[in-house]
Symmetry: C2
Subunit: 420 residues, 2 copies
């Protein structure tokens, strides 16, 4: 007997046939005697449809009303899953964000979860009723509907698991676990049995699109055991505690002997590179570049400042999400006089390749091996950033697959290279 | 300056272009200094889509969860209209059913409106903000979402107008007013400037599908002045108080001189005729026919019991909504032993034609003229019912148009026949 939060994404909720299959999956856990709460996304495509309506109604839409509109997608699927569960003999009811409530900040369209009132759900579960909870939505202090930002349902699930003190948060996704790298690029990529929160954070944020980054951060903070599973397993597959997904856990749960030096190789083509040339090399110059971007809520990633030219000026290069490129160029152009750069150059044909692993903390030479391996294949490195458990490089987009493949082999991650 | 509730149906909300047009229409009333609350339907087709999902998920869906699913349609349009209003410079916000709240009975899927808390909306309107309210939805005592049944948004609008003590409830529809009969059948049909609640009730319930019957009954009870207007007038048409719609008012507001003997001719092809032959002619026999139908929540309309045969039995004929025919036949078949009829005959190829007018109270001969007119054209009358302000006959469906046309002429309703 355990208390489990199960989360199903948009692909799993796309149409009644699939919702029925989800109901059977939930029934299996419930019938095993577990207390079950389910967090659901909107049908795939639905949120895009609703966001499209808002944009069409006004490019400068009120985020408070946007939240009213887009939260409807998860409201619909939560009611439908409750109906589908009842149809297979499982008592169930939906609990909308405002009904629990799931309290959030008032940062409409990208609210953060605060307190979750769990009394209703706990009572229902104690009565052997499954609680179906729409992901992505909550309630701000003024009793207005909020949403958590795109992909927020993973975060809803983890927050729910933390609030309910669940034994496990099972996230059903399009993939059946977390791999050492993208199996479409490297067929010999290997599924990881366990991965630490820190590694998952780096893998998620650099492009292994299995879980939303915020949800992993929250899981780490709240110490929620998250399991990534395929939503496309047979209805009659065994219960999730025996399924071969990937468990995301604290570092202490990964035994020393199973800890690899490098856990995986991630890639991300959704960044764009911006270079400001001839920025005055004086105190405050860099701040004048990044302050307006921060004000515009644009996340800047890899930053490279070259050494000063003899002319007393320098070039500043960094990356932003491709979706923010136009806005970034606009912000920077408007700040041109203040920053004092000469020209503004951008390139969307770049990819970020990252080598991730908690093991690298205690091993020198990880970065060096990366640079050597790429250099041997003639792959030019345009920028570098490092963290405690990650080394990332920016390369030309066309070389993404080659880079991932040679690095996967170089770090001994190919399936034949490892035990088990 | 007036306080106005405006209501827009699904066709008016079908897509952002139309919602923008609604926003301009609302702006006109608001800019004239009026306090405005707007009640909206879901985009046309959306409620059908959502109801379809519920049915597909389970034919025996839980009405509580059905309400969660289908209420999403109006939630979406209310948020979108608020955005569209802001885009044309009109301060606006959406007030969901649970936010006001609009208290209803817990009769899920067909709840009745009770108390409406208006403090929020009154405050907003006093601040020159337009309140956008999703129709069709409310909140039951257990804080669960309810809906009012199909077409319930008209009722929401009238209830809102009553609660807000609005000067007027403007219902924007596919037609530009209430006509003496269906203009597609009789091109010389005339738009009525005023019609009484009682007449509108009869016209609505017998097939002039302009307003939902419940909403007219509520308007009468609460004495709400309802105006029916076209939603397809130009964006730059004058404000609604000068538009030539139809005003639905109390009888005292219709002056004697403008009162017609007959207000209109309605037709309804959505009924089916059922005949039970050889029902024992004894006390309680009729009750045994209609009690099981009532238990199954089937509305029986025209009832005709022929005089008893010499055999001591009688035939009972009545109509039910076509959509309830299959269920009715099923209920009656199962009660066959108890009722003791011989055979069960049904016919869906029937139409109900009704002559309506408050004037007929004081005039004999209205029914007689109806029967004579139809008889002269060889139209056979299968059943008759009358009320204080209405005479209805059941005829063969194929003769609907002919019957409406000859009656419209016979009662002097053709456009040339009347002054003005």
């Amino acid at each position: 007997m355990a208390r489990i939060v199960m989360k199903f994404g948009g692909t799993s909720m796309a149409g009644i046939e699939r919702i029925r299959s989800v109901a059977n999956r939930v029934k299996r856990e419930w019938a095993a005697g577990n207390e079950v709460a389910v967090v659901v996304s909107a049908m795939s495509g639905e949120t895009d449809r609703l966001v499209g309506f808002c944009r069409e109604a006004s490019p400068l839409y009120d985020p408070q009303e946007y939240d009213v509109v887009v939260s409807a997608g998860e409201q619909i699927t939560s009611g439908l899953l409750a109906i589908a569960l009842q149809a297979v003999g499982v008592p169930a009811r939906s609990w909308l964000g405002w009904q629990l409530p799931i309290r959030t900040s008032d940062g409409h369209a990208s609210a953060r979860i605060g307190e979750i009132e769990t009394a209703g759900v706990l009572g229902a579960m104690a009565n052997r009723e499954v609680a179906v909870i729409p992901g992505f939505q909550g309630l701000a202090a003024g009793e207005r509907v909020t949403t958590l930002g795109r992909g927020g349902s993973d975060t809803s699930a983890v927050a729910m698991a933390a609030a309910l003190k669940a034994d496990r948060c099972d996230i059903y996704t399009d993939v059946d676990g977390v791999y050492t790298t993208d199996p479409r690029i490297v067929p010999r990529a290997r599924k990881l049995k366990r991965v630490t929160y820190e590694e998952m954070l780096e893998l998620a944020s650099v492009g292994a699109k299995v879980l939303q980054t915020r949800s992993v951060g929250l899981a780490m903070k709240e110490n929620v055991r998250v399991q990534v599973l395929s939503s496309f397993v047979d209805d009659d597959a065994p219960a999730a505690d025996t399924l071969p997904g990937t468990m995301i856990v604290g570092e202490e749960e990964v035994e020393a002997m199973e800890r690899q030096l490098i856990t995986g190789i991630a890639h991300d083509k959704n960044e764009a590179k911006i270079t400001l040339t001839s920025v005055p090399d004086k105190p405050g110059a860099v701040a004048s570049v990044f302050a307006p971007l921060a004000d515009a809520n644009i996340n800047v990633d890899m930053i490279v400042q070259n050494i000063a030219h003899s002319t007393g000026s320098t070039d500043v290069t960094f990356t932003v999400p491709s979706s923010d490129l136009a806005r970034s160029l606009d912000v920077l152009s408007r700040a041109k006089a203040e920053i004092g750069f000469e020209s503004l150059v951008h390139d969307t044909r770049v990819a970020k390749i990252s080598v991730v692993g908690v093991g690298m903390r205690s091993h020198a030479g990880v970065a060096s091996k990366m640079f050597t391996t790429l250099g041997e294949r003639g792959i030019n490195i345009q920028a570098i950033t490092t963290s405690e458990i990650k080394v990332s490089v920016l390369i030309h987009e066309d070389e993404t697959e080659l880079a991932v493949r040679v690095l996967h082999t170089a770090y001994g991650l190919d399936a034949e290279d490892v035990a088990g």
